[in-house]
């Protein structure tokens, strides 16, 4: 930790891509340190991004820890800071501090089948795990990604998902189909049931809207996944990132310190306050 945990480093926006347009727009940003050096992170950790004069927001780091040159964030335009973020151009300077929170225990999953189940913007927090696992492909058995959006236009990381095919089984879905869509039509939990993955020697990692996570976990339990074979992340409003500002707690645990990654075995013991 730096001496002053509240003072951000300066970072330059190096790349911007519009993932999804419309009301629930998502843009991907890659930012690189202005001074050439920044903190290292682990899969699942978050960072506090700053726009000076606007404020801060806590966002999952969407790039693999193996990538040192930049950190990637995929951000939905929804609040005061994220809306201004969407107006940024390449070359603009932002602030960043972190990393915050715990991480996915990826090293414990060697030799296992991995099932990633994402919905909407929820692909971003698990993307570092997917890309790290693919980069270390020999360490894992089958890797499967389930991902869904409301419509074909709401699918993020389209090109990247296509590139995964071969190394990874990719099962996409949309809530509402459109002409030209050849994959599954229906909600993400239904797509999981449709493919019915085996729980043997497997870990399932899910992230997305709370209602999706709820039914995904219910379905995984039905498929025989034990509570400690299921991992998810939760988010709450945050200001400090270090367990002091007092608002992101679920029971006794601050999500910014003990989370955002929880196994279902851990999460089901906490009060439902997220």
């Amino acid at each position: 930790m730096p001496d002053n945990i509240y003072l951000p480093e300066l970072a330059r926006v190096a790349y911007i891509k519009e993932e999804v347009g419309g009301e629930r727009a998502i843009k991907t940003f890659r930012i690189e340190p202005v001074n050439g050096k920044t903190f290292e992170h682990e899969c699942g950790q978050c960072a506090m991004l700053s726009l000076f004069g606007r404020g801060e927001m806590m966002i999952s780091i969407a790039s693999s820890p193996l990538i040192k040159e930049y950190k990637q964030f995929s951000i939905m335009r929804v609040g005061r800071v994220s809306t201004t973020f969407h107006e940024l151009e390449v070359g603009d300077i932002v602030g960043i501090r972190g990393p915050y929170g715990n991480s996915f225990p990826v090293d414990d999953w060697r030799g296992k089948n991995l099932f990633f189940i994402g919905g909407g913007c929820g692909l971003a927090p698990i993307w570092p795990v997917i890309t790290t696992a693919v980069a270390q492909r020999a360490n894992f058995k089958n890797i499967t990604v389930f991902y869904g959006g409301r419509s074909p236009r709401d699918i993020m990381y389209k090109t990247e998902l296509e590139k995964l095919r071969g190394d990874v089984d990719v099962h996409l879905s949309v809530d509402k189909t459109e002409e030209g869509w050849s994959e599954f039509c229906g909600f993400v939990p239904a797509n999981v049931m449709d493919k019915s993955p085996s729980s043997e020697n497997a870990i399932a990692i899910t992230c997305g809207p709370p209602i999706m996570i709820k039914y995904v976990i219910q379905n995984l339990r039905e498929l025989g996944f034990a509570d400690d074979q299921i991992y998810t992340t939760i988010e709450n409003k945050m200001k400090c990132g270090i367990g002091k500002c007092g608002r992101c707690n679920v029971g006794k645990d601050y999500v910014c310190v003990k989370g955002p990654v929880f196994s279902w075995a851990e999460l089901k013991e906490l009060p439902e306050e997220y």
Binding site: Y6, L7, L10, G53, K237, I242, C245, G246
Partner: protein
Amino acid sequence: MEKILDKKRIDDWINALTGWEILTPALEDGVWAYRPVSGAIRLDHTNTAQPPKGLAFPQREVFFSFEQIKGEAPRLTQILPDAKQRAVFGVRPCDGRGTVRMDKVFSDHAADIYYQSRRKNIVYVGLACNQPPGANCFCLSVGGSPISSDGLDVLLTDLEDRYFVTAVTEAGKALIAAAGGLLAEPAANDRAQVEKVHAQAVAHPQRAIDKPNETPAKLKASFKSPLWEELARACIGCGICTFLCPTCHCFDINDEVTGSAPMRGSRVRTWDNCQFPDFTMHSSGHNPRENSGARLRQRVCHKFQYFFENFGMHQCTGCGRCITGCPVGIDIVSVVNKVVEHAG
């Protein structure tokens, strides 16, 4: 280290403390508050309206300023608190114990340089409560006592015409050493009298939490209790309970913009409040604590369950300010007792 100080000489002691800024209770417009000493010191206060927590954790403080010319990189200037040595006189034992809890929060997991650079320069000279100064005192229920020196550097006990002075920490000893020969060695009758006063103070009746040891587990079992909404029904969400609390530490961080071209401003920390609806509201509009019952539950469970689970102590010191200050009569002692009783 124990000493005796003639009450008439306390101003001489304070005058001898040239290396410290001295704060003492002062009665302003009918309200007791810690103020820089001016004239003769008064320690006949009940308790101050606000605890001394704002000295290390001010209600508003600037983290850094920023300035940005359009198209250029922003320039950040870190603003750290000055290293002024301060001695605070007349701190009641409940508030001393409040600082212990604040210290835990601001050093646990990651050190908060703003809090710590103020805190390390503050010396607390406490004053034991010979009898509970307020109608809502309940320190004995939360592991404290009216004579506790926990979190204090010096403890004074009022023995009518003199103070029995106990140095608790090295910083406290330094305050006494700075007084030279002003403080005398206690005689046998001084010791006998302080023991008697302390025994009476502890025996004095107070308000009480009925089952303090069972409280964390009973609250945990009561998360879904319908009582929370019922008990919070009168709450108007004003937040005075947390504003007056010696242990409430929640804060907000925001940017305040003071100029454009170049854009100028500061990143500012202010106290925040778990009783405000937007405290936990996501930018999507989703709110994990969407009603006043959930927010009262958070305040009570943070103090009597979550903090206990994390640090092995209650995050309440029994000062009673939140009870006295509540405009609608929400009473944390009675809330805890009712929920715990309802849990069976």
